[in-house]
Symmetry: D2
Subunit: 336 residues, 4 copies
Amino acid sequence: MRFFSDNAAPACPEVLASLAAANGLDTAYDGDGWSTALDERVSALFETEVRAFWLPSGTAANCLALAAMCPPYGGIVCHRDAHIQNDEGGAPEFFTHGAKLLLAEGDGAKLTPGSVTALLDGIVNDVHRVQPHAISITNATEYGRVYTPGDVAAIGALARARGLHLHMDGARFANAVVHLGCTPAELTWRAGVDALSFGFIKNGGMTAELLVFFDTALAEGTRQRRKRAGMLLSKGRYLAAQIHAMLDDDVWRRNARIANAGAAMLARAAGDRLIHPVEANEVFLRVTPDEAARLRAAGFDFYDWGPGEARLVISWSQGEAEIAPLADAIAALCAQ
Amino acid sequence: MRFFSDNAAPACPEVLASLAAANGLDTAYDGDGWSTALDERVSALFETEVRAFWLPSGTAANCLALAAMCPPYGGIVCHRDAHIQNDEGGAPEFFTHGAKLLLAEGDGAKLTPGSVTALLDGIVNDVHRVQPHAISITNATEYGRVYTPGDVAAIGALARARGLHLHMDGARFANAVVHLGCTPAELTWRAGVDALSFGFIKNGGMTAELLVFFDTALAEGTRQRRKRAGMLLSKGRYLAAQIHAMLDDDVWRRNARIANAGAAMLARAAGDRLIHPVEANEVFLRVTPDEAARLRAAGFDFYDWGPGEARLVISWSQGEAEIAPLADAIAALCAQ
Amino acid sequence: MRFFSDNAAPACPEVLASLAAANGLDTAYDGDGWSTALDERVSALFETEVRAFWLPSGTAANCLALAAMCPPYGGIVCHRDAHIQNDEGGAPEFFTHGAKLLLAEGDGAKLTPGSVTALLDGIVNDVHRVQPHAISITNATEYGRVYTPGDVAAIGALARARGLHLHMDGARFANAVVHLGCTPAELTWRAGVDALSFGFIKNGGMTAELLVFFDTALAEGTRQRRKRAGMLLSKGRYLAAQIHAMLDDDVWRRNARIANAGAAMLARAAGDRLIHPVEANEVFLRVTPDEAARLRAAGFDFYDWGPGEARLVISWSQGEAEIAPLADAIAALCAQ
Amino acid sequence: MRFFSDNAAPACPEVLASLAAANGLDTAYDGDGWSTALDERVSALFETEVRAFWLPSGTAANCLALAAMCPPYGGIVCHRDAHIQNDEGGAPEFFTHGAKLLLAEGDGAKLTPGSVTALLDGIVNDVHRVQPHAISITNATEYGRVYTPGDVAAIGALARARGLHLHMDGARFANAVVHLGCTPAELTWRAGVDALSFGFIKNGGMTAELLVFFDTALAEGTRQRRKRAGMLLSKGRYLAAQIHAMLDDDVWRRNARIANAGAAMLARAAGDRLIHPVEANEVFLRVTPDEAARLRAAGFDFYDWGPGEARLVISWSQGEAEIAPLADAIAALCAQ
């Protein structure tokens, strides 16, 4: 059993079915009915008028948002362990034409008003120094922690006070929403978020992510930038189809609930071996190399995250039956 | 019936089936078995060692090829009507960091050794002028013409003589190959092509194109550039699956043959109204505005291409039964 | 005697003297009194509030103006023979992050409302095509022709009607102004120009050009872009000094008058061998290879511009005594 | 008396005189005799074959070196307090098209093999993470410390072992050389440096810096990049002239000795208030706000560097007579 990444999970049945259905649409690029319906559909979900763009990757969604928020000569505040800093191969610099990521601290990859303020206050305001234009936070974070609506609002208030835009990388936004039990609106624009990368792929999608602008003026130029990045897919309807399928009947929430439940089961088994509180679908454990080897020998695969650390990610496709043996194996380690 | 674009056609059944099959693969990015098998599979097809990269769009394939061939301060020779010049929203400039497209002439959007030479000879070789580093040709062209292996070889020889790389935009490569009855090798590396954008999407694919490097040293950096462009999809296996499905049992040739046959049927009906010889799946007709209106009233949709010109594109999904009424309607125009 | 380029001319005495004077300033970058005085000084000259930036090259002035006017995904209309297209090594693409130059026609490298309209009307307004954001004209042009205030105003009106910014490359702005006998204001913002590259180097300066924004909102970001381009020189006061020296006592007009007068003397001698009317300090002549060889043998050096064409450029430092023998030699050719 | 920056110092008499002399050269761009002589002249100084490029700023020299060493998708290791990271307004990202600076630690802004190794070992070698391609060190450093030939060689060996290029930002290279008493060769290519930004402006120059490639193959493309950055000045001979003037009769060493001597005088006065050992022409002092105010009241101007820290920079133009009163004032603070 593999617990490497939710990226390795299959697409859910509703998504697969939607692709066959999209075969009946016959307009290229983003001119089909499902693509053109996205703005209204996503506006309804978020209870405000938005502009929504399908994209084939979360990296693209993040980076088009940042390009809209920050000029080439500007900077973007993010956590030292943010995905945009460490795992996107320099894509933010590519899409923004060289903006600089400004790295702040915080437990569990969560920025705080304090950590952001400390960073900002250390940046002399002159032409020689790259000046910040935006803040980017990840929710749920790279360590499976969530920002509550209150957490976001505190950073949103700071962003407004400093004249900065606020982006949320929501590769696991669904996991955060269902953990918190809040509405999508509460966790985003009501708390000051200007744009959200709304992730579907890790949550049972196949090749479609969504970039949502709450500040619709910010969206200007994004259609052009998407085209110019080679991401206005000629058969974009197949991406729109995936998103509609996951929004129908709250499939996105259902999938996230399953994944979170699996992680919670492991968290209960792991007790004080947890490195971070488990608030989404990721579990970080303290394990010795020997213990890690034993787990693998028992058929459980996962990433070593650092010395003595294991990362396990649970996907929408891994039910209780699949998780239980791993929970037992972890509990057995703890009991030694 | 719609004859706007082969981009509007559905994905073929083999491609849809492959997506369901790919659900059984469980490795992220390009680490799955189908992605890693591409190099060998495509090398066999082309009878030489290649490096092959799946990508979600033809624009991306073209532009990553050009980025590998041309430094930011260089230039790329292409036809004045090339897709990379007119229809990619500036993507070549984005991916190459600002290389300049150098525009040459030629009937039917075909470059010739003469037209390329005329352009090159007009470029003073000094530091003030952007110098050419590559040539890009489209086969089949934007007007549905094909370069024969001999045509390509003549440009390939010129490219080598001038120290330039040669790229082929093969968005409709399949249509060219089946029209010519040649091997993929004859039309590409044997004729001097260094990299090919091998199109699948217009030919019955869904969201997967292939970038093929025959000059494998040129491929260095392309994995990094693909990642950095947000195009190392986290579930890339679904792109690999589509390509394998279309290579299996020569589906790619079968689909192209159907589309070409439909276009040939229209060409026979159109007689001397043809603006360009029909060699692939596109038909350009001389029609008066009144005639265009009558065709549309009869249920046939297509693009006006210029004043008095109509473009009709036939796809793999449009069989004889669908084409025949249009052929009859065109023949009726001619008979007047 | 060399008539290659006004770039080869010496700096004028006032400029040299200003450098020694600037030795007394003791503030780095653009914080010195002469740099900070530029906005007001240049505003007075142009009779309107401007933002003015010294720069070490005209290419830099042009390209920072274009970067302020056009997003990376946009296009800039210019003449097919414009300096920004042919002689800046791709700098516009570098500074704009890949904007595309859109080439229009016109005699003597002069755009006309008609030629610009023809170009614009051929650009389909969709996301696949790079859309124009600005027009750039050169005054005096690359062939020594001038746009009158009326010529500029006609293009300015077109620019406004189409929502485009208007840039003037004034590498030889002084030559145009003295030829026309108009005010700097009449030839620029009163005619719709948003930004001017005001050239000093060809006109007796050493290493300082000036970028002038009449649309001061457009200037936002330019200080940052100048810094980021490595052009906020640490001893910028020596650039400011050159500009003040040339504005003092109308040195800039005096120098241009001398150069124009020399060109006029050659024009009178050349008669119907002139390829372009001589309106500034450049003379383009029809000469056979044999005649060119004879002129060179007589000690006159110049560029071959095309087959059977010679370009001669006269500088501020070439007085009547130096020009007269060349005029005689040209007259002798004509008399044969 | 001002001790803000050596950038605020005047140009030295030899440099001023050279500009007048350059008035006699009459070739544009870099075609004049002094520009074309640079390669040979600088090769002699460094006792090896080099390629040398004049540039109008140190930022440009640094960034063209980095652009030659690192692809857009790569990373450059530098100190957290490096000028390229904090004081160039994002120029490295502009010139490299978005390469990422990777920040390492070290006392006095000096990297060590240990600190670089620690950074490198923390970078997972996969396509998701930006990979290092170069190391950049500053000598003398931003805190006036020097790398000895041995220090550089240790980092040079590490660079080679890891397949990285090595760049030295020598804005104050002269100060380091005269402090160490070594040859330019010993401090650069013999210790593994591939390219040096050789600073003249802070050391008595006006507007000319020099980029020196010891790895001459690396220089390929730099002439094009310089042009494209708007830095192939049309009257480049005035930059070449400055450099020749400072190399003649070892003016560059003479000027640096004066500045270093002034700093040494202050260092002796400052005793244990020194924050960093004084090895070049910068002095960092611990002072209370009250003490800083008293120094300013006495006519000494300088930057506050951090809370309780003052930075004083001594230039080639500040002789003993000017320094002595400041030394006395500092000594008086210490005596309290």
